[in-house]
Symmetry: none
Subunit: 190 residues, 4 copies
DNA sequence: CATGAATGAGTCTTCATTCAT
DNA sequence: GATGAATGAAGACTCATTCAT
């Protein structure tokens, strides 16, 4: 028998992401995805019970991927600001290099595709970010305000920066990156 | 266009916005919109040539509305920070009270519905924001960095704040608002 | 506006019946039905929410039609056997002339299309038959056995007779009809 | 065909029959059958070239089984009515105990699955029934009418009786059976 | 203008069948 | 032989759009 091929899920995900960026979450069809993935439409249903499930699975995978990247190489032993900047850069790098994933996830935010379960699962993955910011507050380096608010700044500014970079074609020089980081740090630092 | 018509366009827009929040931009149909607006499907086509046109018109209307709100009561004669905060609060208030519009506009960002023309028209409306920030730089109150970057912080953080407020049900106290403004100001101020 | 056309339901029913006889209940598609009815596929959904609903509605209509025919011209004032034969002939005539309906209803018997509600509704329509046989028992003309059993003979024999007539191409002469009636009567009479 | 294979064919048939009763002839899929039979879908195609062939084979098998049962223990040497009742009871017993087969065969009647060849083969198996009734006519115990008509009564009444028993949950007491037989005999006897 | 029935292209999904293992 | 993943044609159903009233 033919073994279920795990690489195929990857192909499907890649195809879906590419399509979401070019046609929007609303515009993609199972036919498009299968064609882009180089498989038959029916094959999609071997791996995912429905379009909904496919989208949810992709969302979960992106989310996990994103979190995993954020803390790659993070060393809690280092001084706070060093570690913080490391993570900040990780996130930025991830969003730039995986722009498609970032766009997809944002599109999912208000879509009826994402089920409450998936949403719930996603928010549980936010824990490491929370901890990072809590630590900053404990070391009295960050403003003693609601962690959610701090994250808001972290994420919100990054989002717009990446979008702008991508769409306005601005090249993200080292200086520009540092400037942005400084602004972010100024916002958060106590 | 008589007044009667305008009222109907308003109903259509309201209906569409409500539906986008609950079902996503992908999920709305002309049938849904007409039903929610209390008119017949065919009547939609009296006011809009197609679904695309309806969405684009709504997008443009929201965008204009948003800009108009931002500068309501803004007095350039006042000291910079006072005026800046005024605008900042206007934007925040707008996004909170017109959450549906905000969601709709975000959903439109990557959708194939919005034509380049509409996009172009929208970005031209950004001029007042640019001017506001340029003035701040001229008065050496804001960091001498790319205006786009400054806007990024302004908008990005606000976006996330509003989303959070809405979804996590946090009440936005005066203190919380001020804290957020301070963070934003800290990020931008030179 | 275009008025919903009641004749269209009739066309749809006729088309469906014809197709069930030629291709079996299993083999019919909404596309086939619409084509045979001379309308667009989508139009079917103006009149019926789903294929299931269409089949159930058709079943109910056939059932009603069948019962209505059975007692046409039946006069309770006449001697029992005369009235009984009248009904018997009505049923036979109905089944022969509306062979498609008869086949369709038989096909429905074990199909998952028919909902319990429809089934229930159908069996409630059996009341007149029950009464007819009860009367025969009361007048001591029929065997004093379970009414269900009597109906079994009435219906079962007729069913097979009609099928045979139709498929083997036997012509149903007056003699043959009378012979069959006599057999039926012999079975039921006390 | 080894014994092992035959057992598998049996499993397949059993699975198919069970599914036809629960989901109708229209509703069964090769996937369902294979799952219910505890084998892989592909394996079905080792035993049957196609779904059509499977259904036809099953139909033929049921038909043969049915006829075989009918005359089990029948002894032409016995008086006619005794033998006749013996067969009649055999048929009844068969239909009650193999209700699934009976339902399946009825479903097949108007389905496009059954080929003319299968149909032809099936009707050739009716010979013993014909002979039984011919003998009755020759002995002047049965009405001198068309054999087809006689069979019609035999089969038709039995069909309905079995259906009723099954669906209305009536228990078939010995008395009820005898009553029914008497009715049938009354219908046929000269 | 307003209506909503009619249309048919396009969607998701299923399923008989094939084929690599 | 046995398996079940892969295939793609076909089916039920949706929906933007048109048009008769």
């Amino acid at each position: 028998m033919k073994r279920k091929d795990d690489r195929k899920v990857g192909q499907i995900f890649q195809a879906a992401l590419k399509l979401v960026v070019s046609k929007g979450l609303s515009g993609i069809t199972m036919g498009d995805i299968s064609k882009a993935a180089g498989i038959a439409t029916g094959t999609l249903y071997v791996y995912f019970k429905s379009k909904d499930e496919l989208i949810n699975a992709l969302f979960a995978a992106c989310r996990e991927n994103s979190v995993a990247h954020s803390f790659k190489g993070y060393d809690p032993a280092q001084p706070y600001k060093v570690g913080f900047k490391h993570v900040w850069l990780n996130i930025l790098r991830y969003r730039l290099h995986n722009f498609e994933e970032a766009v997809f996830m944002e599109q999912c935010y208000h879509s009826p595709f994402i089920t409450p379960e998936t949403r719930e699962k996603a928010s549980r993955l936010a824990a490491p970010y929370n901890e990072l910011l809590e630590r900053g507050k404990k070391e009295q380096l960050l403003k003693p305000v609601d962690t959610g608010l701090l994250i808001t700044f972290l994420v919100g500014s990054m989002n717009e920066l990446v979008k702008q970079t991508h769409y306005h074609g601005t090249t993200l020089t080292r200086t520009r990156i540092n400037t942005t980081f400084d602004m972010c740090w100024d916002a958060l630092k106590s």
